[in-house]
Amino acid sequence: MEDLAEAVIGHALSLGAEFADLRIETISGVNILVMDGKTKTVTARIEKGCGVRSFVGGGWGFAVCNGLELSELKTAAEISVRLAKVSREKAKLSFKIESTKPIRKTIEYPCRTAPSTVAVADKLSFVLGLDKSMSAHDERIVSRSASYDDFEGDRIVANSFGTLVKTRETWTLASCSAWGKSDGIVQRGHEAVGNVGGFELMHTDAAARCGEEAAELAIRLLDSKPVPAGKFTCVLDNKMTGLLAHEAFGHACEADAILAGASVLEGMEGKAVAHEDVTLVDDPTVSETFGFFPYDWEGVKSTKHVLIQDGVLNEFMHNLETSSRMGRPPNGAARADSYASPPIVRMSNTYISPGNAKKDELIGDLKEGLLIKGGQYGYVEPAKGQFMFKCDEAYQIKDGVVGQRYRDAILTGLIQEVLKDVTGIADDFELIDPGYCGKSGQDARTTDGGPHIRVENVVVGGLT
């Protein structure tokens, strides 16, 4: 396969590419979805293909084929060079991809029990167990979904600088949703457990508790009220702090957004963008996390990205192109969701570093505010500088005491202001929230986290 990769890269260069790379992948995976005690679907994927990318002057061409015959890959290379030339012909910008030291490496993600060695019946038994744990939790649970996903992929990343990185990637993910009903009110709880690794991760306590925690949340929310709208001081739990780090700041630090002139952080490197106690990090090197990867999808060794250091904007996340154009060393943030997509700048494990305060102090000091727990989703437009994220549950805080439970709160803010309004960072750090981040139609596995933090002037959306 290495010879195939090098032959195709050579072919692209011979046709006029100044730089070329490719990703050859073979992928298998299983998804099991159980709804209300019955299998909805047992799905398997069998994929193999190649994405070839060529660069000429300031234009890229990218072509994909579903096959691994030399002739198919050569045709893809030819199309990619032709498209790069079409782009270059009309491009206003001209730049180069700076050469990097070639890397030759074979990587295998940690995995004790390869999912492909586990019988579907055993995987199904695990998912049915999650389903039963939800139904057994409380008779008010009226509907359940439990799912399991695994992925095993062999990927070759090769480029015309001589890099050739072979990666065997394995990850597994379980997730549960439970719907509780009481007095005509229906509420949903959700929990997920995911990590790089094999089926052994489904034997952990966290995986076993996944269903119960989803059911418990659904039941807790049954006596909640819609959250009031307005501006509040909020204490965010570990998951919500992670979602804030990801949505409020992480996306705006992706260097492709900077070069696109579509981030309010353009030109802000070295300037204060947060309270001096805030350090915000994206780190794909944290092992045993869902966002882990040792080499990125351009074959660059991944590194810890300290985006904000003590309140000052420190660096952006780069791929080969953005690092070349911005005169920075590549820092391994290029990811593609499969061979069929070109690599783009992405986050991995994003968090705010712990402080010295105690969680109880953040709440106890507060005369009036909200405690926000559990992240559902969020999104941001870095060019508008606005973001939002939605929690699972919120609680009224009055005179330092946690009271009334609320639901469906969304929190909104401005990228350039929200982290300046941080007034307390606890010491209870956790990196615990696995999920998928979407960008340009591609999904990337990520983890978010941090300690409890307190933020002023958060606009909360609610119904009352």
Binding site: D36, K38, T39, T41, V42, T43, A44, R45, I46, E47, K48, G59, G61, A63, V64, N66, G67, A84, S87, K90, A91, K92, L93, V120, L124, V142, S143, W179, V186, Q187, R188, P226, A229, G230, K231, L259, A260, G261, A262, P342, Y379, E381, A383, K384, G385, Q386, F387, M388, K390, R407, D408, A409, I410, T412, L414, N457, V459, G461, G462, L463
Partner: protein
């Protein structure tokens, strides 16, 4: 018969030889060309060839689904064996009553535009540059990021009841984000257009709209928390309704008691002036199709008629469970079908029946109100409660649309929202699969930073 339909039938026969008595097979081939602009300069062109096969087998109601990116016999065999074994591994489900029987299908007009299929990358780039020129035509625009995607798909669907159906589809999609700057102020405007037909004017329209909204947003104010009338731009209305109706009326969510619309069939769920249809026969609309993801013919149906909920959206499984006919709402995803996911329930094209109110009439009697153009939030389908970031919104003051509102939210329950629609616009557009005009809600809770 086409090569693809013959292959689909062969795989159905293969599954039968392996013991799979009930199955459907999708053979799909998509060709996608994309051109991308970054900071007003052509940056990249992509080409994707994506042939593949999806095999779904049922055994006592339990379903196994396998897809493969290869059409090589050995690999298709492996996929078929896996699908059969996975179906057998599952839990029997007596609610599954069977796959659709073959019926004569009438091809829907406006699914395939040869001009889209014939568009060369160079021509796609030139069309995209027209957009860039239009979007850049203001000194305050500092960057235009945009994309143009041309897709062609051909699918063949066959099942174990003898159903065989084929169709070709095209899609022409344009997107733009224009960024405006003035001093320290920065704002972006976006728009997009999506059709099965090549529309050479859409890059200009989209570019102009993105530019105008970017510039318009440079002036902004803070909102005070309170209750205000809200006019939903078709972009916002389409996005909200795609989940509120698409997910809310999904029979799976209804049967599993996960939707706020459960138990409300035949009851009033909105104001009398609100009627919403699902129409897979709309010419050139991206959700149009001659048959659904399981081979059921296209059916236009009222989901909400004059405020009354008339039907849920069914596929064959949920229809069998409720002992009704499928409404033809099994979806294989997207304008150009995908073989990579099992079919799910989805609307084809939702259509909100237009009213006769002009935009001026909708805002002229608002002393203080909000015009919401862009949000990307989804409602809580279980409760029917909806709160969103107003990503792009404008203050309505004394009957005029004024400056943009920053960092503010809207909250309302969906049933409340439907019942408070007091004016419906007369100029519909397609937005996120929904053809809708602007809608005015008489009152919603706005959370502001002022």
């Amino acid at each position: 018969m086409t090569e693809k339909s013959e292959l689909a039938e062969e795989v159905v026969e293969l599954v039968a030889r392996l013991g799979g008595r009930t199955c459907d097979v999708l053979v799909a081939d998509a060709r996608v060309t994309t051109a991308e602009v970054e900071k007003s300069s052509i940056k990249q062109a992509n080409f994707l060839a994506d042939p593949g096969i999806a095999i779904r087998v049922f055994e006592n109601g339990s379903s196994g689904f396998v897809y493969c990116t290869s059409q090589i016999a050995a690999e298709v065999n492996k996929a078929a064996e896996l699908a059969v074994s996975q179906a057998r591994a599952g839990i029997p489900d007596a609610d599954f009553k069977g796959l659709p029987e073959p019926v004569p299908l009438v091809a829907v007009d406006g699914l395939y535009d040869p001009k889209v299929a014939a568009l060369r990358p160079e021509e796609a780039v030139d069309l995209l540059l027209l957009l860039v020129d239009e979007a850049s035509a203001d000194d305050r625009i500092s960057s235009v990021n945009a994309g143009l995607t041309v897709s062609t798909g051909e699918v063949a669907l066959a099942n174990s009841n003898g159903l065989v159906a084929t169709q070709k589809m095209t899609s022409f999609d344009v997107f733009a984000e224009a960024v405006a700057r003035s001093g320290d102020l920065m704002f972006s405007g976006m728009d997009y257009a999506s059709s099965r037909k090549l529309n050479p004017d859409s890059p200009l329209t989209v570019g102009r709209s993105a530019k105008e909204h970017a510039v318009k947003g440079l002036k902004h104010v803070k909102a005070q928390t309170g209750d205000y009338p809200v006019v939903l731009d078709p972009l916002a209305a389409g996005y909200i309704l795609s989940t509120a109706i698409g997910g809310g009326a999904n029979a799976e969510n209804i049967q599993r008691k996960r939707s706020y619309l459960a138990g409300r069939l035949g009851t009033v769920v909105g104001s009398e002036n609100l009627s919403i249809y699902d129409d897979p026969t709309l010419e050139w609309a991206i959700g149009s199709t001659s048959f659904d993801g399981e081979g059921v013919g296209p059916r236009r149906k009222a989901v909400i008629d004059k405020g009354v909920l008339k039907t849920y959206l069914y596929d064959s499984y949920t229809a069998g469970k409720d002992s009704v006919e499928s409404t033809g709402n099994s979806s294989r995803g997207g304008a150009i079908w995908s073989y990579r996911h099992p079919p799910v329930i989805s609307f084809a094209n939702l259509v909100v029946q237009s009213g006769d109110a002009s935009l001026d009439e909708m805002i002229e009697d608002c002393d203080k109100g909000v015009y919401l153009r862009v949000t990307f939030d989804s409602p809580n389908l279980a409760t029917g409660e909806f709160s969103c970031l107003m990503m792009e919104s404008y203050a309505i003051e004394d009957g005029d649309i004024g400056p943009a509102i920053r960092q503010s939210t809207m909250g309302i329950s969906l049933l409340d929202m439907f019942s408070k629609i007091d004016l419906i616009g007369s100029s519909p557009r397609h937005a996120f699969g929904v053809e809708t005009p602007a809608l005015r809600i008489s009152s919603a809770k706005i959370g502001g930073s002022g």
